[in-house]
């Protein structure tokens, strides 16, 4: 049995459940919006993990789940809680239910795509860049500072410089322009991240287990996800085939981060140098699949159906899931 968690109408989730349905793989969806009609308990006893999850009328032993696809929204922001006061019992049940579910997923012997701890490397882009660098990828030059003068010198050196959040929150990439330079004094309040602009073609590589799907993206925008807003034109996506060496390098990177499913953002320069910007541990792959027809959701469904990994639980980013 596969457990899928999130909002059923959300596109990536819907695509995965459609593939599970098509292949006749038994699955159940935990719809976060119906948390009030669900219950969970878990137990760790002599290193064995047990418990039950009730969804509506049906109760499932946790040991029955061989694969889990959590793609959950922040439970504090569920519409069902919008009119609830901060101390409401519904709000507190929602939080504690999600906490128990997450605790189970962190240690469950099932194949979880992905667990929270390995996903956390993406909560700090420059930290993740240090891990990426260890795998032989080039990384762009990065400056994080509270000193406006250093930023001006950095821009003078590189010509084109972008800025973006250090964390995974509000992560929209913008190019630093003259207008921005005028308000640089504000960075004295909080260290801010600047990065050299790298010319080249964006390539998103989705790794699912040992399968790889690469998509080249042509866009004039600084952040192609917001192409229409930033450049007035939508991005153009096409499937590409990576060299064997680059394929292996991407797979090693995902595995070393403990990610069963990852979206790796590369840029290939006109000189064929490969820069890696980040590894997204919860990729919204539907955009790429819809534009290229790459069967990413089918690969995720296959991976879930393949059952538990045989390695021990890996919630360390550096530990390899097999």
């Amino acid at each position: 049995m596969i457990l899928v968690c999130g909002i059923p109408s959300e596109t990536p989730l819907r695509m995965v459940t459609s593939r599970l349905e098509e292949t006749g793989t038994p699955f159940v969806v935990f719809n976060q919006r119906e948390f009030a009609n669900c219950e969970i308990w878990l137990e760790v006893n002599h290193g064995e993990i047990g418990g039950e999850l009730r969804i509506g009328e049906r109760t499932y032993p946790l040991q029955e789940f061989v694969g889990v696809y959590p793609r959950m929204m922040d439970d504090r922001c569920l519409p069902e809680l919008s009119d609830e006061p901060p101390d409401s019992s519904l709000r507190s049940y929602c939080r504690s239910f999600h906490d128990a579910l997450t605790r189970w997923m962190e240690i469950a012997p099932a194949r979880v795509i992905n667990r929270c701890a390995p996903m956390a490397s993406n909560s700090s882009k420059p930290y993740q860049s240090q891990l990426i660098r260890e795998h032989g990828f080039l990384i762009p030059e990065i400056l994080i500072t509270t000193d406006p003068e250093l930023v001006r010198a950095f821009r003078a050196k590189h010509g084109r410089v972008i800025y973006k959040s250090i964390s995974a929150v509000r992560s929209i990439v913008q190019e630093l322009n003259d207008e921005d330079e005028e308000r640089l004094e504000r960075i004295r309040w909080c260290p801010t991240q600047f990065q050299e602009y790298v010319e080249g073609t964006n390539v998103r590589v989705h790794t699912v287990g040992d399968e790889v799907f690469a998509t080249a993206v042509r866009s004039e925008a600084t952040d192609y996800r917001y192409s229409t807003r930033q450049s007035g034109e939508p991005a153009e996506l096409r499937e590409v085939v990576l060299s064997d060496e680059l394929t292996a390098q991407c797979l090693r990177l995902s595995q070393s981060l403990g990610l069963e499913f990852a979206g790796i953002d590369l840029k290939v320069t006109p000189d064929d140098e490969v820069y890696c910007f980040e590894v997204n541990p919860c990729p919204g792959f539907s955009y790429y699949e819809a534009n290229t027809g790459q069967p990413i959701s089918a690969a995720v469904a296959r991976r879930l159906a393949a059952g538990p990994a045989h390695a021990t639980v890996c919630s360390d980013a550096a530990q390899v899931c097999v």
């Binding site: 669900c38 219950e39 969970i40 308990w41 878990l42 137990e43 760790v44 006893n45 002599h46 290193g47 993990i49 049940y93 504690s96 239910f97 999600h98 906490d99 128990a100 579910l101 605790r103 189970w104 962190e106 240690i107 701890a117 390995p118 956390a120 490397s121 909560s123 700090s124 882009k125 420059p126 930290y127 860049s129 240090q130 660098r133 080039l138 990384i139 762009p140 030059e141 990065i142 400056l143 994080i144 500072t145 509270t146 000193d147 250093l150 959040s165 250090i166 964390s167 995974a168 929150v169 509000r170 309040w189 909080c190 260290p191 021990t312 639980v313 919630s315 360390d316 980013a317 550096a318």
Partner: protein, 247 residues
């Protein structure tokens, strides 16, 4: 230089600073979390060849990665000063940015760092008790049955699992040794294995005496009270810092 990074409200961190100073670890700089807030000047760079850090503290001291040989890292969270100054709608964002920044610069520190940060904790892994119990069992430590249900308040999760009134002992594993108390060799081995498998150089492990007399897992922390390890632990830490590499 070596750094001791801790908060002013961390007596254990201050004790280590004093102890290492008396053992002759020099130059040794005490860097309080509060000094890293607003008023410090930061420069943190990454490129293909390495990671660089320069901090100018409010008192004028300059901490530069080219001169840093190691650190005792007991930072639990970024200094709250900056995030507190943010507008209400930006507070959570500012906190996430600072946490992300600290994770990066701490990870980039050169030399021996006890402990290096992880993506689940600035001074080592902060696992939930459910995961520590699971890991402790796998490492061979007797552990209590852990139970949680959807009605248990999430914030109550992080606690010692020792029953009320039970006798407890707080051990510290560091570099493959156990400090702070005498327990059977089998327990010592399991404690070392637990720390090793959690990829944590230093780990505090609390055990309680179960009814059958067996030392049983109660809790673990990457930021233990180091004074429990006394002079032997201090000497080992000094050795690790000054000789470099694994102790």
């Amino acid at each position: 230089m070596w750094l001791v990074l801790c908060s002013s409200s961390d007596p254990s961190g201050l004790w280590v600073y004093e102890g290492l100073r008396q053992l002759g670890v020099a130059p040794l700089e005490l860097v309080l979390a509060e000094w890293l807030g607003y008023g410090s000047r930061w420069e943190h760079r990454l490129d293909g060849s390495g990671t660089h850090l320069k901090i100018v503290l409010p008192d004028g001291r300059v901490l530069c990665s080219s001169r840093i040989r190691g650190a005792i890292n007991r930072l639990l969270a970024p200094s709250p000063g900056i995030a507190q100054r943010a507008a209400a709608s930006d507070k959570e964002y500012a906190q996430a940015e600072l946490q992300a920044f600290y994770l990066s610069w701490l990870n980039g520190l050169p030399g021996v760092v006890i402990n290096r940060p992880t993506s689940v904790g600035l001074c080592g892994p902060w696992y939930h008790p459910s995961e520590w119990v699971y890991r402790a069992s796998r490492a061979g430590l007797p552990a209590p049955v852990y139970r949680q249900n959807g009605h248990d308040a999430a914030e109550l999760g992080y606690r010692s699992l020792a029953p009320e009134g039970a006798g407890t002992i707080k051990l510290i594993t560091f570099g493959g040794e156990v400090f702070g108390g005498r327990v059977p060799d089998r327990i010592v081995g399991a404690c070392v294995k637990l720390a090793h498998e959690a990829k944590t150089e230093m780990l505090g492990i609390e055990l309680y005496a179960a009814e059958n007399g067996e030392w049983t897992f109660a809790n673990a922390t990457p930021c233990p009270d180091l004074s429990a390890g006394g002079a032997p632990l201090l000497k080992r830490m000094a050795q690790s810092l000054t000789e470099g590499g694994q102790p």
